[in-house]
């Protein structure tokens, strides 16, 4: 026993991680499915038995016929008929079992879907709790207050500028923009004075001139 334990221990050491027990992942429904499937296995084995039996009976009937024992052969074929009916019945039972297994497995999937929806819903309500309507309302009200406060400050600062200040300010603004306009015009190339010098490409020259004019106007 000690040697055996030592051997098992040694062998397990090679694939080191400790065994994981997932017995809790086997639900009651799984147990029920297993019960049904075990029952199905039993029926299948029973069917196998019946099939072998039928084959034997057929062979025996053949042999009896060859030997001229018609009555006995007839009796045997009757028995075979009965075995056949049993086989058909078990087929029905098997399909019942399989339907049941299918229903159970499908119901489990449905349950998973419902669980998923439930946890999604919980997460959503939790988010809503964090973000309650009162909070949002007070937040908006606070923001509104802050905006109004800012406006007041602006007004306070704005009243300091007199009408005169405003006028000189506008003048200065005009001066700056005018200076910029002149600088812009100076940057432009001079407009051509003569007629079309390049006769080879009159179209290009003609299209260029109005373009320049519009550039100045703007």
């Amino acid at each position: 026993m000690g040697a055996l334990l030592a051997r098992i221990f040694n062998r397990d050491q090679q694939n080191a991680p400790p065994p994981i027990n997932r017995a809790h992942d086997v639900s009651q429904q799984d147990q029920a499915v297993l019960d049904l499937k075990l029952q199905r296995d039993k029926l299948k084995r029973y069917q196998n038995k019946l099939e072998i039996q039928m084959e034997k009976e057929r062979e025996l009937a053949k042999k009896l016929l060859r030997d001229g024992k018609r009555d006995k052969a007839k009796l045997l074929l009757k028995k075979k008929k009965y075995t056949e009916s049993l086989l058909e019945k078990t087929d029905g039972q098997l399909s019942n079992l399989e339907t049941m297994v299918g229903n159970l497995e499908y119901a489990q999937i449905e349950m998973k879907v419902v669980e998923g929806l439930k946890s999604g819903n919980e997460a959503l309500t939790m988010l809503h709790k964090i973000m309650s309507i009162e909070d949002v309302e007070s937040l908006i009200a606070d923001t509104q207050d802050a905006i109004e406060y800012q406006k007041e400050i602006d007004e306070l600062l704005g009243t300091r500028l007199t009408q005169e200040d405003e006028e000189s300010l506008l003048k200065e603004l005009e001066q700056i923009t005018q200076g910029e306009d002149e600088a812009l015009i100076n940057q432009l190339p001079a407009a051509p004075v003569g007629g079309l010098e390049d006769e080879i490409a009159p179209v290009r020259g003609a299209s260029k001139q109005p373009e320049k004019r519009t550039a100045i106007a703007t």
Partner: protein, 186 residues
Amino acid sequence: MASQSSSEFEWPVLYNYPPFYTLQTNLDTRAKQIDAWCNLILNYFKYNKLYVLDLTEALASSPLFVNSQLNRILSRETASLILNTLDSRGNLEWQDKEKDRCLVMWRTPKEWGALIYQWASDNAFINTVCTVYELHSGDDTINEEFYGLELIMVVKALQTLQNDGKAQIIQRSNPDMSDAGVKFFG
């Protein structure tokens, strides 16, 4: 059935070499001899898809140990020595205290487990309960290598999967696990 297919089995050259049946005294030669026997046993079992060896029976009739052409039979002592070597290599497991019956594992339980798990995941049996019976004798596994696998080997294979958290064995009333089930996990 087994004897029919064993005739197609390609015996190694040593099989028809009389000294192969006598335990060699030179230690080097002996190690090589035992090694050759180990390989022969594993190959023979794999070829014939056999899993259980009954030593008494094998020494009496199995062509593996009885070479009728040479009129040689492996002695029980030598056979035991070879089987114990297989045991220490992890390819064999004794089933009784008398060391007469053993499981010859030409594929380790882990390898079988991997094959079964592969089948389960290829055929969408993950998160589904299967019976152990349908794994080794069911309609869905007829073309699988593990079809017809010895029950005890199936259970061992499933245990390796269970240790890895890939499956959970659901035991029922039978202690030999013939009515057990298994649930595979993804």
